[in-house]
């Protein structure tokens, strides 16, 4: 299938009082039609900043997208004038945010907020927009949706609010849904509800999804392809089964080994990755993971590896082959 979205060499920096923070340092990925891409990483690795840069949602200043392009349907999102990117954001690429408590306007009714994209982007009259909003709320599993249009956000629970947010983001039937840690603030039983809902909607509406999370468990059951980020770089990317069966970057290996499993065996000691993630105040000249890496060789301290294919659909940014412990040729 054709690429729907192609991001190439995206770089974003933030100017702070202490210097420049290199949040995203040249990220490239693509998204096919109807595909679900998981972006995984720990806090501060640049996963949210990547998608926000793509959609010009970075506050400028202090932020600045210094390089790269994000081509969607033949056009570079980063070069679009404000009016145009606003239209894309509302109707073609929409976003679901982490915190269902703070992402709604507390003084407007749910119906007004869910219907708004349709009114603004498609020029649908309010009455029809409200009818469509009620249908969407029904679709995401809000009971007695018609009556609840006139309720305010605080009258919904966290899980319900996240459903409403999904309804709002899908009302213009976008081609791409970006979900930024949408279940992190929710309990596991509610998280399971939301994930089931998104899977169902994906099958019904056929949109592509970028799912950002720190939870390797969530993407395992949801994504087709997974990209792992560290210190502003994608350091490994593969089909989901390939990644979990054959993790190749030492960071991915370490991350998977440090996770206890609910179906796991008893008594194993957790593998831990020593040390801390880098501060990003300097753009690294060597591999950013080298200080924490058990495989690090001399070369790792001299040059930052690029993301390179090791097989069809498996890319890794590492000089070392962890199976032999020696440098990949």
């Amino acid at each position: 299938m054709a690429d729907l979205l192609n991001v190439e060499g995206l770089e974003t920096q933030f100017k702070t009082r202490d210097g420049i923070v290199h949040a995203v340092n040249g990220v490239s990925f693509h998204l096919k039609e109807g595909e679900t891409l998981g972006i995984v990483g720990e806090s501060g690795c640049g996963k949210s900043v990547t998608v926000m840069s793509m959609l010009s949602l970075i506050p400028q200043p202090p932020g600045e997208v210094v390089a790269g392009e994000a081509v969607y349907q033949g056009k570079d999102l980063l070069k679009m004038p404000n009016e145009e990117i606003r239209h894309v954001r509302g109707s073609q690429i929409s976003m679901v945010f982490q915190d269902p408590m703070t992402s709604f306007n507390p003084v407007l009714t749910i119906g007004r907020q869910v219907a708004e994209p349709l009114e603004i982007h498609n020029g649908v009259p309010r009455k029809q927009a409200y009818e469509r909003a009620a249908e969407m709320l029904d679709m995401v599993g809000i009971p007695s949706a018609k009556d609840r249009l006139y309720d305010y956000p605080h009258q919904f629970s966290g899980g319900m609010r996240q459903r409403v947010m999904i309804a709002m983001s899908l009302i213009c039937t976008p081609q791409v849904l970006i979900a930024d840690e949408p279940t992190t603030a929710l309990d596991v039983t509610i998280q399971a509800q939301i994930i089931e809902l998104v899977k169902r909607l994906r099958d019904e509406l056929g949109m592509a999804i970028i799912w950002i999370t720190h939870d390797l468990g969530v993407v395992a059951g949801l994504a087709d392809r997974v990209a792992v980020m560290y210190a502003g770089y994608i350091i490994e990317e593969a089909q989901v089964k390939e990644l979990y069966a054959k993790p190749t970057h030492p960071y991915t290996i370490g991350l998977l080994a440090s996770l206890p499993r609910v179906d796991g065996k008893h008594g194993d000691r957790l593998a831990s990755i020593d040390g801390l993630p880098p501060t990003l105040m300097e753009k690294p000249r060597f591999c950013p993971f080298a200080p924490r890496c058990e495989f690090a060789l001399d070369h790792c301290w001299q040059e930052n590896p690029m993301l390179e294919s090791i097989s069809a659909d498996h890319r890794v940014a590492c000089w070392v082959d962890p199976e032999t412990g020696r440098e990949r040729k």
């Binding site: 039983t189 089964k241 440090s258 000691r269």
Partner: protein, 327 residues
């Protein structure tokens, strides 16, 4: 577990209600949040008891009520031969040497104006156990014990990362040589790769110092890893309590079953084969908990009796307690 049946802490029918009041000058109590509503369990010496549940189920309130940070509404907490619920504040202060707590948020639980050395040494000063050089040596050895450089004792909390701060919190809890530590979600605020470091530290310390943990968490995978026995809470009550193996391999309560099936497994092959039990709806409000069984409003198996009678928390096989009419 070294000493299998020596009970260190016995919680009996513990209740904690928070009053809801109305009125400004004349405050009338109009209701109560039933945060913890009659729970009983034992913690054996040297074991880790995991206490899991979703947010608002009362697990943190349980931990705090055990240490009398909240005074219980009813029930007793027997620890090292005394009922903590009946002690005066001064007597309780003395008991706290033996029972300490590690808090969830490593950013909020350390005083930003005190150095790390002052924070860790404070318990020793309050109880007048040591001072001067002896105190400084003890602080240095505690820092070393939790894997931090002893030279850090003159630094302030903001100079440390989340994982390091949690280590400082652990060192402070250890300063008085307690026998029981209540760990209230000690790793939830940390990143995945750092969580493993802190959990390994807690396990090492338990082995080295013979500590007993009440480990409160919502992450069922981590609780499986660290606990000897696990209690599952729902809306103020314990619905199931048994050994780790039994709970994860043979869960009997419908809530436990649904909870376990909802946890994602980091393995696409296992995820493909799983059958999820998706619970309907949300947790009801603890202000007006449902009659009878607390879980009946979301339970896929609920029958008539569940609305009428509160199920008894009983031992269905040795060491396996369940509160359900259908088991």
């Amino acid at each position: 577990m070294s000493s299998e049946n020596e009970v260190l802490l016995r919680v009996d029918n513990l209740v904690k209600h928070f009053p809801i009041t109305q009125g400004i000058i004349i405050q009338r109590q109009t209701g109560a949040v039933h945060a913890v509503d009659g729970i009983s369990f034992d913690i054996y010496k040297g074991e880790t008891l995991g206490l899991v549940g979703e947010s608002g189920c009362g697990k943190s309130t349980t931990g705090r009520t055990i240490l009398q940070l909240y005074r219980p509404t009813a029930g007793s907490v027997h620890f090292e031969g005394r009922d903590l619920a009946k002690l005066s504040n001064e007597e309780m202060r003395q008991v706290r040497r033996r029972a300490q707590m590690i808090f969830q948020d490593p950013y909020a639980s350390l005083n930003p104006r005190m150095t790390v050395g002052e924070i860790i040494g404070e318990p020793l000063q309050i109880y007048r156990i040591m001072k001067g050089q002896e105190l400084r040596d003890r602080v240095a050895s505690l820092l070393e014990l939790v894997g931090l450089n002893p030279a850090y004792s003159n630094r302030y909390p903001h100079e440390f990362s989340g994982g390091q701060r949690q280590r400082i919190g652990v060192a402070r809890a250890l300063a008085l040589n307690p026998s029981l530590i209540v760990c209230d979600e000690p790793i939830s605020a940390l990143d995945v790769s750092i969580q493993a470091q802190v959990v390994n530290l807690l396990e090492d310390l338990q082995k080295e110092l013979g500590l007993t943990y009440l480990f409160i968490a919502h992450d069922l995978s981590m609780v499986r890893h660290i606990s000897d026995r696990v209690a599952v809470m729902y809306l103020g009550v314990i619905v199931e309590l048994t050994t780790r193996e039994e709970l994860y391999n043979n869960p009997l309560h419908p809530y436990t079953q649904a909870l376990l099936s909802a946890v994602p497994i980091p393995d696409p092959f296992a995820e493909e084969k799983r059958q999820r039990i998706i619970l309907e709806g949300d947790v009801p409000s603890p202000v007006n908990p449902p009659s009878g069984c607390r879980f009946r409003t979301r339970c896929p198996l609920a029958i008539e009796i569940c609305a009428k009678e509160r199920p008894e928390f009983r031992e269905v096989k040795p060491g396996h307690f369940v509160a359900c009419h259908l088991v």
